[in-house]
């Protein structure tokens, strides 16, 4: 079966065609990052406008690249949350109309669940149970997946998503937007020796908090600038990134032990961070745990993961109603 996936929850407009939930026929992504760069973050109304402009040409191109005629599509899947309401509504409305026009089922997909399925696309042999750590500009989640469609969210961020903290630190260090790759690059030149936060106030839980860490960097930079002293940008980047990764490591490996899984999957844009990959790879090898992460174009937001996830959802639960509402704060249950 051919599945059409549509993703518009944040600042990537994406359309993909996936066969049988596992084989990518096309996976097109139109990033809006250049439209939001000067604002230092995603502007929701602007994002929604860009989605509507981009979506139809992208849909046409995705079918053409897949070599698929519209009447061959058997299922239409679209993200219905979590995300920015204006953007979600564009993809969701288009997808429902397509399902109506083609007389095929429609299925709404949880974006966070979608990120997990990026790993199933990239690694066909992968099977649950597994633990998935999703880190991006929009989310930080530690999820135990018992089987397809059955999840337990062990931990999530109490404030900023990891990627959001990267963006803000990049901004105060004058590195531009988006911040993740810039901080990653600069950190390689620095020493992670500045203690930014003394204690882990969420110790013992699986939840995350990055706002204190981010504020510590911002305050330190402002203090140094006021005194006219040089800002050790590379050391700050290395220290900040090191502490983010340490927190992610501590929660994740504790969960690996507690849930006795030997499969760990990483997902989300921040999973492309070089230090994160290196430290998780090393620790996984030491513990004999199988570590998976998708290639970059499946790490960041994309519609192939939505199509794959939608396929499994539909097989398990059937189609979603055509009046399914967008759910900006949708949770994974």
């Amino acid at each position: 079966m051919l599945i059409l996936g549509v993703e518009t929850s944040c600042d990537e407009t994406a359309v993909a065609v996936v066969e049988d939930g596992c084989k990518i026929r096309s996976n097109l992504i139109m990033s809006q990052v250049d439209r939001h760069r000067r604002f230092g973050g995603v502007v929701p109304e602007l994002a929604a406008r860009c989605h509507l402009e981009a979506i139809t040409p992208l849909l046409e191109a995705a079918l053409r690249e897949a070599g698929v005629r519209p009447q061959e599509i058997g299922l239409v899947a679209a993200t219905y949350g979590p995300g920015l309401i204006g953007g979600l509504l564009v993809g969701l409305s288009l997808a429902k109309a397509l399902s109506l026009a083609w007389n095929v089922p429609f299925v709404g997909v949880n974006h966070v669940e979608g990120h997990i399925y990026a790993n199933f696309l990239a690694h066909p042999g992968l099977t649950p149970p597994l633990l998935c750590l999703t880190v991006s500009g929009g989310h930080t989640n530690l999820i135990y997946m018992a089987e397809h469609g059955v999840y337990q969210v062990l931990g999530e961020t109490r404030d900023d998503a990891a990627g959001e903290a990267f963006d803000k630190v990049a901004r105060v260090l004058g590195l531009g937007y988006p911040g993740g790759p810039a901080v990653d690059r600069l950190a390689r030149e620095g020493k992670p020796e500045i203690t930014l936060v003394q204690q882990d106030r969420l110790a013992g839980t699986y939840d995350f908090s990055f706002s204190g860490l981010k504020t510590a960097v911002v305050n330190l930079v402002h203090r140094l600038e006021q005194k006219g002293e040089p800002v050790p940008a590379a050391d700050l980047a290395a220290s900040f990134q090191g502490q983010v990764v340490s927190t992610l490591m501590e929660r994740t490996w504790r969960a690996v032990e507690a849930y006795q899984v030997n499969t760990l999957a990483l997902s989300g844009g921040v999973a492309a961070n070089s230090e994160l990959r290196a430290r998780f790879t090393e620790e996984a090898a030491r513990r004999g745990v199988n570590l998976y992460y998708p290639p970059l174009d499946l790490c960041t937001d994309n519609a192939a993961m939505v199509a794959a996830c939608g396929y499994f959802r539909w097989r398990k639960e059937g189609p979603s109603p055509l009046d399914l509402a967008a759910a900006p704060r949708l949770r994974l249950t």
Binding site: P70, I85, L89, S93
Partner: protein, 234 residues
């Protein structure tokens, strides 16, 4: 021709199916805020009830606003999905023009859609025969500014539109000799009007707007306006 007309720019969303001159389905319903995603389900029901299969449609006409940004986008996304999926042409219709079409009169017609406090989306039309001719295209008007402009014209004006308590009060006060107001359903966008105007536009220009139709926002986003004013995101 079987034309589907959709508009979700204002509080009352509209959907109609036209078969030639005949309206075979028409529905107007208050859209709860952010709830225009119900529309595909309503449409599915309309097609079932009229025993029209989607493949029998020939044209999709959709209101492009001005009005609620989100609302207009949902309408356009649905229209584009249908037009693409059914391989049909799509035509965008200004929502204000459809509103003006509710009153055939020799007087000036001024359709209004609620905007921010003290402002309205407005346009000015006059009927010439069976044709609505735009005198002022859709724009954003301060209420005082709009009243002053119409006062200068010195003619009677029919105002149409819903959710306009503030505007009605002011316009009635500033234009006591000129202003009259629509009643009941005249103040609601009609899907059949969208369909008729879309069909007329299609027959005139034969231009499929599937890729080009976009909302008539009339305003840049707040972030862009601030940027233009200060040269920074602040």
């Amino acid at each position: 021709m079987r034309v589907l007309g959709i508009d979700t720019a204002t509080r009352t969303g509209a959907l109609a199916l036209l078969d030639g001159e005949r309206v075979v389905w028409s529905e107007q319903a208050v859209i709860r805020p952010g709830g225009s995603e119900q529309l595909p389900a309503v449409l599915a029901e309309a097609l079932r009830a009229t025993a029209v299969s989607p493949e029998e449609l020939t044209l999709i006409a959709v209101g492009v606003g001005p009005g609620s940004y989100t609302g207009v986008r949902v309408g356009l996304a649905i229209a584009k999905g249908l037009a693409f999926g059914l391989n049909l042409p799509l035509v965008g219709v200004p929502t204000l023009e459809a509103l003006a079409a509710n009153r055939q009169t020799g007087q000036l017609v001024c359709p209004l859609v609620k905007s921010r406090k003290g402002e309205v989306y407005a346009a000015l039309y006059r009927w010439q025969g069976a044709q609505l001719v735009a005198i002022d295209p859709p724009g954003i008007w301060g209420l005082e500014e709009l009243a002053a402009r119409l006062k200068a014209r010195g003619e009677k004006v029919v105002f149409l539109g819903e959710e306009l308590d503030e505007a009605r009060g002011l316009l009635a006060d500033r234009l006591p000799e000129q202003a009259c107001f629509g009643e009941g359903k005249e103040n609601l966008v009609d899907g059949a009007a969208i369909a008729r105007l879309g069909l007329a536009e299609w027959e005139k220009n034969k231009e499929n707007q599937l890729y080009t139709a976009l909302p008539l926002y009339l305003r840049r986003t707040e972030a862009e306006v601030r940027w233009a004013e200060r040269g920074c995101p602040g």
